[in-house]
Symmetry: D2
Subunit: 340 residues, 4 copies
């Protein structure tokens, strides 16, 4: 039984973490806190947890957290995590950070997209990007996990086999992504009011979204050279789920057809518990992945190009579910524990 600390529970990812961890038989939520500084019962913040957890959410007390936890999840906004992680790491705690603070290895890119200087270059160097399908071995021994962003998770999983097998023109990638509103986090913005989102649909941050460089960093590693993408996110009038439709040029004309592509993907992800490749004729849809930790992927031959469609739940495989998957790997629990 390991003891868990969670810092930052009032947002969507914190709420989802609690929900998943309460189903986990080998962990105990030992301490929960948030920046607001008030002592409130978790079940008063989220009445849905009444009868499941009795803890009080207190203000952040690093001494208490380090004394009472083995592993700490940071479900904090970007730029706040890097102020808290160093002390936890120094105290020998394992840390899984759900913010973007330890994802981008290039601090000038970080500064450009998050509008602030990076404050913890030392730990940035040892942070492992927590995408189990790519970095499982490193995750096993990691002390600091940079849990991937929601868009990056689905896009990297959708493209990894093609890049690893060198099947496409690397600068031809067009990602048309669609996300539910929880992807934007819980915040009082006019654009997130019910009547602004309901029965609407729109693109936003065309080619300026902060997840684009994160996707490019990881795709570049897979390709072994710099990858530039076109990334257009859209806001869906639903609560949860991301579906990305991706268009790429084949690298050569004698490229694999749909059937062969499907078989390559199935082989690539053969041992993965949370990646499912659609058979011919099947299409991923949000309904199949929402409230699960699965990533569903469909691949379609399109003459000299390939279309890939992939879907996840942004709060589970795209955030808190993946964080728990990383924890399971770090502690050698069965990887699907609390996630099926």
């Amino acid at each position: 039984m390991i003891n868990i600390g969670i810092i930052g529970v009032t947002g969507y990812t914190g709420e989802e973490l609690i929900d998943v961890l309460l189903r986990h038989p080998q962990v105990r939520i030992a301490v929960v806190c948030s920046r607001s500084g008030q002592s409130v019962k978790i079940s008063d913040i989220f009445p849905k947890f009444k009868g499941r957890i009795d803890s009080v959410c207190a203000e952040i007390d690093l001494k208490k957290i380090t004394e009472e936890s083995d592993l700490v999840f940071l479900a904090l906004p970007h730029t706040v995590s890097m102020e808290i992680a160093p002390a936890l790491l120094k105290a020998g705690k394992k840390v899984i950070d759900l913010s973007a603070d330890y994802r981008l290895k290039n601090i000038s890119v970080y500064k450009k997209f998050y509008n602030t200087k990076h404050k913890d270059k030392i730990n940035l160097g040892l942070a492992i990007y927590g995408l189990p399908e790519i970095y499982r071995l490193k995750i096993k021994n990691a002390r600091l996990i940079a849990n991937p962003g929601c868009y990056p998770t689905v896009c990297i999983l959708a493209l990894a086999p093609l890049l690893a097998l060198d099947l496409i023109e690397i600068n031809s990638i067009i990602i048309d992504a669609k996300s539910g509103t929880t992807g934007a986090g819980k915040k009082l913005a006019e654009g997130l009011l019910f009547d602004e989102v309901n029965e609407d649909f729109k693109a936003y941050k065309v080619n300026t979204h902060q997840h684009a460089p994160e996707i490019e960093q990881e795709l570049s590693k897979l390709a072994g050279k710099k990858v530039n993408i076109t990334f257009v996110p859209h806001l869906l009038p639903i609560s949860r789920g991301i579906l990305a439709t991706i268009y790429v040029k084949k690298a050569r004309h004698q490229a694999p057809d749909t059937k062969h592509l499907i078989s390559l993907y199935k082989k690539f992800y053969k041992k993965e518990p949370f990646v499912r490749i659609k058979d011919s004729g099947g299409f991923p849809r949000l309904k199949d992945v929402v409230k699960t930790n699965f990533c569903d992927i469909g691949i379609y031959d399109n003459k000299d190009s390939i279309i890939i469609i992939a879907a996840i739940d942004n709060l589970l495989k795209g955030a808190s579910g993946q964080a728990v998957q990383n924890m399971n790997i770090m502690y050698k629990f069965p990887e699907h524990t609390a996630l099926l």
Copy 2:
């Protein structure tokens, strides 16, 4: 051609007013302003109006408004209208106020429910409650219209025939009302975020809603004695529409059956262009009234009680549509102009 001023256009009722008035062949939107104080084109605030209106929304300049308008609509929050209406009335302008400021005749009730002292008792006395089906004759010559609230509009229309004909026990009225989110106005409240409302449903302000005394005031006038109601509003995960299900005890046991009740209602509302009584077997639904100025009413015999179901669009018959209906009456335009 009459000249219209609108004060307060950034909220839902202001936006809807513009939409309706742009279809009206006998009026011209002469001046539009809001409290924010910036000069912005209406079509920049609401891109949907581009190509339909070219006006600039300026800060509130009462001199300019009185010079350029014949009639002024106040689409302002409660407590703000009563600071602006007096000057307009003094300058001889007609005023239709969509806020609650001139609806409640009893200023201590106003204070209790709106948390502020009433500041314009003089004009409160001459304000006409703008429900055409009840007060059409007075509206014709009114200088100041207190445009009814959304819940009161649907509830009063649903109950007026029963009270006017003395068919029910007046203190048995239970109103179970359900409204879309625009009824709450456009404001940054956590409870109005998309993910808070989507796929949810809940009651709120049980027996403490500020529309309850407004309903009671008008039902009491119709009944000729004090009426007390039970009023439970609920929030629907949709943008527009109110449906109220109302339960009342019959006054005597030899009371009319469904067929007779329907015929009484049809007679009561015979000449009304915007009230539709469902035939036997029919049920009002939001789909039939949303984006219209109609109020649909169904009446059902239930042994010694009666069930009434009524539905409107809260932004049209419950606000801006009714305001234009009042204007049409005041200016002797065909009552349905711009509203069908």
Copy 3:
């Protein structure tokens, strides 16, 4: 480890049963079948189950089912269950029927509301109404469970303390209920098309719904005399959840106030793992119960009447969750297993 059979898996309750049972550590889904008669993998019918269950859904083969199962869930339409249950019971199997076939003890009422004669009076007599909060002791030794309807579950739990304690006028009960669309079952009806339900809200089957006599039967048992209710169901534009707002007259004028009512309810449901009573000022909402097996109840004093608001997930506490709760009781598993 007990072996489970499920008959009828293509509807919403069958799908939900699989989802819950797959999380249950002490059971094994041994055989799954449906009336359609084709052999199809469960994960082809419901792609969301891929990677979680590999079974094939076959045609109904009672011999195979009785050989391979200890307990059989019937997730069949009304009138079909009673054709299948007798053989299973005869073979010594335990049966939990999610249809209405064994709920109504009065077969002429059954005939009136389900338009067919009852075909299994013998087993009707020994069927236990599977509402654990009322019948837990009988459920323990039951061979046939009539799993309650969704509306009845929430309404009976909301009213049981008041009736058991004789606090209200038993013929004053008005139930204004609102349900998501899955409550109607999965069927090709024009009224269930997306565009018919989306952004709409309406009442249906006013005082003619087949769940009304089921509610009256159980409330009558609790009260010790015949209870007649007014029951008006409405269709919410959401997938899951029922919220009922209930209005009752107090039995005497010196009746308990809100605080006292809350304390009575908390006492009544003290040991219940799935009933949560809201503290003063709190309101049940669907968001807190959807995807859970909880029933949330709020009680509000309203002069000489009482308002009760209660909410459940219609597919969990209102169907498949409750069915598993009954199974847990029958097999002495911890009652919350697979349900938290």
Copy 4:
């Protein structure tokens, strides 16, 4: 005052046609009929029209229709229109066909995508493709209008300036389109049930949609050579609206930037009453076009490619609104009559 016949009113486009035509001061709905063959009041089929239209929808009687109408709208399913149009045209009536029957000039393509042989090649030759922004002059004198499909309308308007000005590689066009459910028509299909669509999102008919050849036909005419597109439609969990995000390669590297592209589009559509080009920084969204006849277009420079985003209401500019716009042109009514 011209007399209008409408054949096929029970679907979404027929319903929308009635709604628009009732606001048109220069037309009279003279005869309305449907294939169902029953005589039912329009206001019984669509209770929302009660108080606005009193007509009876009768079975199709071509003699009556030709006697009583000047212009006939066919809101019929594909393959049915071409059985009815010839008689109307022979009787000298003008016909606006909202089905696909007269859109594709190549009958073998028609056969491939609509699974039936074309039955009216003679009139196919004289049918004018009713996209006013491209074919206004021909529409003026047309006797038979093939009203464009919803996806084609938005895609052709989005791409016409680039093709007409020869700015892009014509075989690089990728259209990622998203539509609300009414685009699929009103039919009892499991995939259109509320619970199947709600909170879901998915692609469908990837590169096999029947609108792809229609788009290719029209783009080819604009380009002066054969254009092949990649077309991936998706289903949005909303009732109305299409938004297409389009990716194209620039024809040469010294291609125009965003500012210049916007100015080219504004010039191209300068006189169009229903095309609005977003200024720099603006994005089309469904909220701005739903319930209007507008098409909003945004253009974004993306290094050696261009992104175009365009949005319409599929039932108005994508069907019935455009049909009325065509009628206005044919009868020299102001083009925006009944459409603003």
